[in-house]
């Protein structure tokens, strides 16, 4: 038997729900990578949808390229004092202060507004970890109940509908594809050219990273050609060249007349009918504080790997005392981040400021037979810091400090590793019994510890990145051990907390991302990932959202839509 501590029962907090008489065929909770695609794919097939988005439209124009607003003050996220998440290691003696780990972006378009836009297809072996590597003590490795062949047509659809720039066949680990990238890759910049040349000298096969950034104008996508300003990762795009879902698919969904998007609408509970089917979503209008009830034919969760399971746990009822659709006890379990490695080097040359993922190295993506880990690891360029963050990351002050900033900022480059986080039952989100948000709803609480293999793989990636930077002529200014501490190693990729599988005892949703326990409830954000791969997850989320939408369309009658 698994050791599964019981989840604290969620209090029933709403008392005066406004019965609006409003209804929809499908309610989508969250408007990010998954929610935006679902809205478009369902609406174009004639399904009425309502998207509930907790945040507002992004202030794209006002905040573009503004480091103070976007990275320091993080004006697109709720403040940590309001909505921070406590993260604990299972063995930690004391709890830390709330952090932003696990927070999603509360924006129309979600994380796609600010992401670096790396748009990968997972590799076939990413989807069959158990078959490929066997059992691993301390990790519950599984195969996805899908193969790459199952997903391939949906990847193709996502690449066309979101718009991915790239060079097919250049990545030595790229799986077979039925369609070339929609657009040519972005141009190299001086640093990525230097890095690629050094990698080739080492006998490696560097390649342009596929990104959802437009390398040409595209009327269908509604995007403009990249202007190479360099402010990509972590920033809104002033030029509408980053293909976020609020530009590419949500406007098209709205144009059908079938989709409504309600911003400032915080979903707080999913109700079920006596048959155990989702019947309504209760949400709170942020502006008025009013709680409203939306009758639904079906619900699709798309709020991210922390907020989606949180909503299920907050929707506990007599029928589902441990949380909605949580008869397995696994809702919120198997939380995976990617482990973000970073190496930093100073060069003899000043470079343009570029925060765009340009060059990838995947010659070490799969572990060698002799390696003591089985994690998949991607190495990517384009993760420099802005000048202010750079200055704050360095100790000191005074003339020498100022002179060092002037000397080192334009010469400093970083590489980033995306290291797979192995699934572990004990890594989880649950409701924090002691902390509530200002509306009175329990905040999420994260318990997470990396597997020993995760750490080994990370250190290995750190060493490889160091070798690459040195080969390119850089002088390393950190050590391989840097960033292996728990607080420095999280990404915004939140995966695994509604695990997909075939057996309702060992998983939360089936291969169609439908909850085993609630037949008209789906999840399309990265909560469904059974394993995390070593690649940024957004394109997989989007491809799968097209697949889930197709399932809903085909089964709309039985779902009540």
């Amino acid at each position: 038997m698994r050791d599964l501590p019981s989840q604290p029962a969620a209090p029933c907090l709403y008392t005066a729900v406004v019965a609006t008489g409003d209804s929809t065929s499908v309610c989508i909770i969250g408007s990010g990578a998954a929610g935006g695609v679902l809205a478009w794919a369902l609406a174009r097939a004639g399904v009425d949808v309502v998207v509930l988005e907790r945040g507002k439209p992004a202030k794209r124009d006002e905040t573009a390229e503004d480091e103070l607003l976007q990275v320091i003050r993080r004006s697109h996220q709720p403040p940590v004092e309001r909505d921070g998440t406590v993260v604990v290691e299972p063995t930690a003696r004391a709890e830390g202060e709330p952090t932003r780990v696990g927070q999603a972006y509360y924006l129309l378009g979600g994380g796609t507004i600010l992401y670096a836009a790396a748009s990968w297809r997972l590799r076939p072996d990413d989807l069959r970890k158990r078959s490929r590597y066997g059992t691993v003590p301390g990790s519950e490795l599984v195969d996805w109940p899908l193969t790459y062949q199952d997903l391939e047509p949906w990847y193709t659809m996502a690449e066309k509908e979101i718009g991915v720039s790239g060079k097919s066949g250049a990545d030595p680990t790229e799986p077979p594809r039925s369609f070339d990238h929609l657009m040519a890759p972005l141009d190299e910049d001086p640093f990525s050219a230097r890095l690629a040349a050094a990698a080739r000298k080492m006998g490696l096969r560097p390649f342009p990273i596929p990104t959802a950034i437009s390398s040409r104008n595209d009327a269908y996508l509604g995007t403009n050609q990249c202007q190479y300003c360099g402010w990509c990762s972590g920033y809104t795009c002033l030029f509408y060249a980053k293909n976020s879902v609020d530009i590419t698919v949500i406007p098209k969904a709205l144009k059908t007349g079938r989709a409504r998007v309600l911003t400032d609408s915080y979903a707080t509970r999913i109700e079920t009918d006596p048959r155990g089917r989702a019947s309504a979503v209760i949400y709170r209008e942020t502006a008025t504080g009013a709680e409203k009830r939306l009758a639904v034919g079906a619900v699709c969760l798309a709020a991210g790997g922390v907020q989606s399971p949180r909503l299920l746990l907050m929707s506990a009822s007599k029928q589902f005392p441990d949380g909605l659709a949580n008869r397995s006890g696994l809702v919120g379990r198997y939380l995976m981040f990617h482990i973000e490695g970073r190496r930093t080097a100073v060069f003899d040359q000043a470079f343009d400021f570029v925060l765009t993922k340009k060059v990838g190295v995947h010659d070490w993506y799969f572990p060698a037979k002799t390696d003591a880990w089985i994690n998949h690891c991607s190495i990517q360029s384009g993760s420099r810091r802005g000048p202010l963050r750079f200055a704050l990351s360095r100790e000191g002050w005074g003339e020498d400090y100022e002179a060092a900033l002037a000397r080192d900022f334009p010469r400093t480059q970083q590489l980033q590793a995306m290291v797979e986080d192995l699934p572990q039952l004990a890594n989880r989100i649950e409701l924090d019994s002691g902390r509530k948000d200002p509306e009175g709803y329990p905040l999420p609480r994260i318990t997470h510890r990396y597997h020993e293999m995760d750490r080994l793989a990370l250190v290995h990636s750190q060493e490889r990145m160091g070798a690459l930077l040195q080969a390119a002529g850089g002088k390393l200014v950190d050590t391989a051990e840097a960033h292996t501490n728990i607080t420095g190693a999280y990404t915004y990729h939140l995966m695994g907390t509604c695990r997909m599988g075939t057996d309702p005892k060992d998983s939360v949703v089936d291969r169609d991302c439908r909850f085993h326990d609630v037949p008209n409830l789906f999840v399309a954000d990265s909560s469904f990932f059974p394993t995390s791969g070593g690649l940024n997850p957004t394109l997989t989320i989007q491809a799968n959202a097209f697949r889930v939408a197709d399932y809903i369309v085909k089964h709309r009658k039985e779902l009540g839509g």
Partner: protein, 203 residues
């Protein structure tokens, strides 16, 4: 190095991008940021200000005393110049507009930090007087009267004794040096020029 060919924005992109700049970002920010940040009890993550901003009594206690006073401003100016002195090609905090940034920030979004500033600047001042600057009138800044070496020594003592307050002040000075000029500092992009950042769309 291959030079990149000039790129042309499509008609939609051109008008949209130009409109944004024509509107002046300051106009937009005035409403958006001031409201949003004040409501949020702003804290900037790099200094883990969670222990600072909320701990400071916010609006009611500060009503009517929203300024630091001339002596504290003199101390703050001197502190900013210790952080970023002017030397050779280095513009220093004042020329780069960091002081102006602090003025605007403390009058607006960073009013929640005024309590931190008062405490920190009074601590600095007390340390300066202990360092021998006792002859300076109470209404003036002893810290500002110190020689560069002594000011550095006192700043070291302050950083060791009050690391969190020091981190807040240091961060805000750096913000005034390197943040977008729309926020009031980084005058004529002097900070960006110092660190070699060409902001292609803000020239």
């Amino acid at each position: 190095m291959k030079s990149r060919p000039a790129r042309l924005l499509p008609p939609g992109g051109t008008s949209r991008a130009r409109r944004v700049h024509a509107m002046t970002r300051r106009q937009l920010l005035r409403g958006v940021v001031a409201g949003a940040l004040a409501a949020r009890g702003l804290a900037s993550e790099p200094i883990s200000a969670t222990s600072h901003a909320p701990a400071v009594a916010v609006a009611p206690a500060l009503a009517g005393q929203r300024t630091l006073g001339a002596a504290r401003w003199a101390t703050l100016r001197a502190f900013a110049l210790v952080m970023l002195p002017a030397a050779g090609n280095l513009p220093g905090a004042e020329k780069a507009g960091a002081i102006e940034y602090l003025k605007q920030a403390l009058a607006g979004e960073y009013a929640v930090f005024l309590g931190v500033y008062r405490r920190a600047l009074d601590d600095l001042e007390a340390l300066a007087r202990r360092q021998g600057a006792v002859s300076v009138a109470r209404s003036a800044s002893a810290f500002a009267s110190l020689s560069a070496d002594r000011a550095t020594l006192v700043t070291r003592q302050f950083a060791a004794a009050s690391p969190r307050d020091f981190a807040v002040l240091r961060q805000h000075v750096l913000e005034g040096f390197l943040a977008d000029p729309v926020h009031g500092g980084n005058r004529d992009r002097a900070g960006w020029e110092t660190v070699g950042l060409v902001h292609k769309h803000k020239e």
